[in-house]
Symmetry: C2
Subunit: 149 residues, 2 copies
């Protein structure tokens, strides 16, 4: 019997691959999961590079690299911090928000296909079960995402 985490990893991979394929068909920049997590993070708040690094669970230098890419591609922009002259706020551009909408649609398509395959209630149980487990392990403050393999 396989350990549950192996099933989690394989499922993540299977869905992620499909997501990525469809994105590529649309012809977007080579966005990686980390970029998506940044979008999702910035949707709700303004944040500095350091904040983003913290959220992803990587160093600020790694976060800076990701932010630069997103900036080059026009998904985010950096504006001066109102009170702290060292810092910059990173914010989503319209292109960034559009991407996020597109991605959410793709994800919910994929989730719909999953529901067709194994039943809507099963998907709901999985969602709630995992969320509950994460709350159990981490409390309310979830730690960074971070590479997985």
């Amino acid at each position: 019997m396989e350990p549950v985490p192996m099933l989690l990893a394989m499922t993540y991979r299977a869905m992620g691959d499909q997501f990525h394929d469809r994105l590529r068909q649309i012809g977007l920049e080579p966005l990686r999961p980390a970029h998506g997590y940044v979008f999702r993070f910035l949707k709700e708040r303004r944040a500095t590079t350091v904040d983003i690094g913290q959220h992803l669970g990587v160093t600020k230098q790694a976060a800076a690299k990701i932010v630069s890419e997103l900036d080059e591609w026009g998904y985010v922009l950096r504006e001066p911090h109102p009170t702290d002259k060292r810092a910059q706020y990173v914010t989503l551009t319209t292109k960034g928000r559009d991407y996020l909408k597109l991605a959410d649609n793709l994800w919910s398509d994929l989730e719909g296909e999953m529901a067709e395959a194994i039943g809507e209630d099963t998907v709901a149980t999985i969602r709630q079960g995992l969320a509950a487990y994460l709350r159990h392990v981490h409390g309310e403050d979830r730690p960074g995402l971070r590479p997985v393999w």
Copy 2:
């Protein structure tokens, strides 16, 4: 609402981190998930480096690196292939089998703790649901594991 794959990744990470912590307390070599997948693969069969690469979903060169490490640490050994003079069979040593037992115990501990937190039936549903989804996507022949982020 978060996409399901994000929950999968976070849960994988949470369980994997705990697993890794406990392993480290025991003081083993710095085994990575890929090593574990190799053990699990070799448990059932004898295989060449190329086979292993295929199973992991990486190039044979990458697989060779992993096999070398396992060999250095004494978890596997390479013996000549009986009929093909180019090839070598990689097989688990006793140390390898012992590790696998230990790892399985750790995983089932973790799964037990998960069951305590969210209910045994929920865990069962998750397990069966994900397995069914994977069969749906891949048929019987599951593709390689592979990096996830």
